[in-house]
């Protein structure tokens, strides 16, 4: 297993090429190109903005804070997470041709999915920056140093889940359908369209604490949106530690099932 992990480093060039291919292939032939990745979140954003900022009593965020910026801070990482999960779970099946016909470490496929979506996430940050300039709401610059750490934690956490799910999906195809429903549930269980600072959320904090995405989303919001100290740092680091353990476990399972892929996909 450790040997395989080390070998993976040797495939950097291939991973890089495949991510580039993934991105190029997706937007080849479409006029708006990568912008399409944000039509869906932007649409969501406009609807939720309307509902939460205009219809419902404006208690989502602290007074005179721009709701759009707040929500985008949570929605962007969530989109990365969700797309990675949904695409990644089926990545071994859709890439079956490669696994069966080419000598090729299978874990590259789910990893490429997560990384390609990370690139989308990075591009989406530009849109977020645009929103911030428009609404004249800027983060605390000194806290921004923690931003890469949050991304890293989310990356490890997502990779762990996607590796595990992709391997299991080869044998249990219904995971993909199950996952689509689970992600909707998970979305609402994560403070993206509402703020964790609301009193109602505090009442359920015991439940929320079990959701790793809760801590990741809150971390993004504290760093990118809210002013004041980064109080959630300890939770973030804890989730980071859990993610590393989870990743090792997921890779172990993946490695155990590896030989069955070429025959089962």
């Amino acid at each position: 297993m450790w040997h395989n992990l080390a070998r993976l480093a040797g495939y950097r060039g291939l991973i890089q090429s495949l991510v580039a291919r993934e991105l190029k292939a997706r937007y080849r032939g479409s006029v708006l190109g990568f912008f399409w990745s944000f039509v869906n979140p932007l649409l969501l954003l406009s609807i939720y903005s309307f509902v939460f900022a205009k219809i419902l009593p404006p208690n989502a965020t602290a007074d005179n804070m721009p709701y759009e910026v707040f929500m985008f801070c949570g929605l962007l990482p969530w989109t990365w997470f969700q797309a990675s999960m949904l695409e990644g779970a089926g990545s071994l099946i859709s890439g079956g041709n490669l696994i069966k016909k080419v000598l090729f470490p299978a874990e590259i496929l789910p990893i490429v999915t997560v990384l390609a979506n990370l690139v989308h996430f990075a591009l989406g940050l530009l849109i977020l920056a645009g929103f911030m300039v428009w609404r004249q709401h800027f983060p605390d610059w000194n806290e921004l140093a923690w931003f890469p750490v949050i991304v890293l934690v989310q990356l490890v956490f997502t990779l762990a889940l996607v590796l595990l799910l992709s391997a299991l999906t080869v044998h249990f195809r219904d995971i993909r359908d199950l996952l689509a429903n689970l992600m909707t549930f998970w979305f609402f269980a994560t403070p993206i369209i509402y703020s964790y600072k609301m009193d109602n959320v505090a009442g359920y904090i015991g439940y929320f604490n079990w959701n790793p995405m809760f801590h990741i989303a809150v971390s993004y919001q504290e760093v990118l949106f809210f002013h004041g100290p980064f109080g959630h740092l300890r939770w973030l680091l804890a989730i980071g530690g859990v993610s590393v353990v989870l990743f090792v476990a997921a890779y172990w399972v993946f490695d155990r099932l590896r030989d069955s892929f070429a025959e089962a996909v």
Binding site: G13, L14, K24, L103, L168, A262
Partner: protein
Amino acid sequence: MNVATPAISLVNVSKLYRRYGGRQFATLKSALLSGDLVKKLRPDETFQALNDVSFDVPRGQTLGVIGRNGSGKSTALKLVAGITKPTSGTVKVQGRVSALIELGAGFHPEISGRENVFINGVMLGMSKREIQARFDAIVEFAELQEFIDAPVKTYSSGMYMRLGFAVAIHVDPDVLLVDEVLAVGDEGFTHKCLDKFSEFKRRNKTILFVTHSLGMVERFCDEAVWLDSGHKRAQGDPTRVVGAYITDVERQEEQFLAATDERSRADAGSAPGPSSAGPADASDVAADMSRATEGRWGSGEVVITDVAVLSDQGQATHIFHTGEPLTLRLRVEAKRKVSDFVFGVGIYNAEGLCVYGTNTDIEEHESDSFSGEAEVRFEIEALDLVEGTYKLDVAVHKRDGAPYDYHRLLYTFRVKSRLKDVGIYRPRHRWGFTGGITLRSRA
């Protein structure tokens, strides 16, 4: 690297494929409820693709692997390529391997040929710089200079295949694995590929070659291995192994044809009686005969009890080579004494075209009397037919055509030929040349 170490070495290799029969529709829930997930991943059935196979390919040698479909050839190749692992035994390969198994397997249809060359090259183990250096050679080899910047989805299957082949062959492997890829591509490209293989051989590279083209094995390979349902049946000199393989294939074909004939005869029923179905009215017979499919009918006063197609050694067989003698032996029995009888034979090709038909009446044998049991022999001195499957009509009927016992297309034989000439009939012939023409025999 030690010269004595073989480039490819398989030692007691077995490969068990698991067949997940009923598990296809099992759900995660049931797997979780039943407890151990890993336990549930155990197969319901297994299929032994390779069974204790060992062979070595020394460096610089070309080994041909032959065998029927499903004999384990491709599995052996995949094991050498490292795509699958053996269930038991060891597979050792020295040096860089390139597998021409699924050409262009990693191509993405939406992006250009150029980008695909790079990604495919990286996938096959080349570095970016190596690909850069060989890019022009790859494109030239694939003959795709004009289209290299077009998305691969616009390529024809031939272009796709050529590009895949060009990339794989420019990996410059120490060990090249080839799986039946030359079947595609036009004549010119096939020649180019063969030239490339020859070049590999000259440069002392090792080639493992899986194919159904036995001629190629004889021409190209230093050694051949014959796999039969996962077992190694023979290994050694290509001509000898190919010969043994062909003999075995013919034996199997023989069995298959015998079984087919058996079945159609069983369907046609036993000796006909007066009540048996079929055109009883003599005037209908001529019209129906050409239309009727296989079957058996007649009044049953005279029956053909046994039909045998015999080789020149007098053995019943279904396989003949062009130009060999063939004897048709009919055992007949007259239930009562008859004086009006004609024996007839017809040969039809697979399309149902009558190749030849004759009977004793046409050939001016006047029937006199027949009672009890007898034997009729129809001897063909040389079966001058081109390769193909042929069916036989045999009949005994009255001079006006009313059948006693008519066997329609119930017997099959196959003619094999080394030459792939066309048509039906091969007249005995030879070529003659005078003047400035010189030819060399390829045989």
